[in-house]
Symmetry: C2
Subunit: 115 residues, 2 copies
């Protein structure tokens, strides 16, 4: 089923595929999501940065903001000094994990079969 109409409508932007890829298609989007589901434990900014090395501050901030806006991660600020911010997966974010797993699985099964 999925998308066939897009071919005559010429609007890939409105497609479910485009929506999904926009959410997880960035360079570190999926890595971030996977890191957050590792232990079902919220992670702090610098902990994430260490896990996602060699990500830059800019990219980590961008990535987290976009994931938060998309409703995939939850951001909790603890008003203390030095600052503390924890990130965790929302249920929507968790619902994406199986989809990403399938993409990974297909890729793993086929990435060494040619080339």
């Amino acid at each position: 089923m999925a998308d066939i109409d897009y071919i005559k409508e010429n609007r890939l932007e409105d497609t479910g595929f485009a929506h999904t890829i926009q959410l997880i298609g960035g360079k570190y989007k999926m890595q971030t999501l996977y890191a957050l589901r590792l232990n079902h434990t919220p992670l702090r900014y610098n902990a994430l940065k260490r896990l996602l090395t060699p990500i830059s501050f800019k990219m980590l901030t961008n990535t987290l903001q976009e994931l938060e806006v998309a409703g995939l991660v939850y951001r909790e600020v603890f008003p203390q000094v030095p600052p503390k911010v924890e990130y965790s997966l929302t249920s929507l974010g968790e619902s994406l994990i199986p989809v990403m797993d399938e993409i990974c699985t297909w890729g793993e099964q086929h990435q060494h079969s040619n080339g």
Copy 2:
């Protein structure tokens, strides 16, 4: 299980996810694949161009070459004048359709759930 090790290995490039996205992540990659599976009929270059409007020559050629190198589409040249080239899905290309369908389905189910 998919990919968890990538986090400590810091090499997203070797991940199945990255491999899959590289194949279908371009602007017209998935559209092209879907177009080719429409009727299980091979399509000629200009027919594809019409279907994928407003794609440019450059992008269509790029897309088809990359899909061919990836083993997802089959390219058959008929040595005649004017030239005739037909493109069709390989079985590997067809095996990707269900994965793309899932990505589309998730996207369609969730793209209107938050503003």
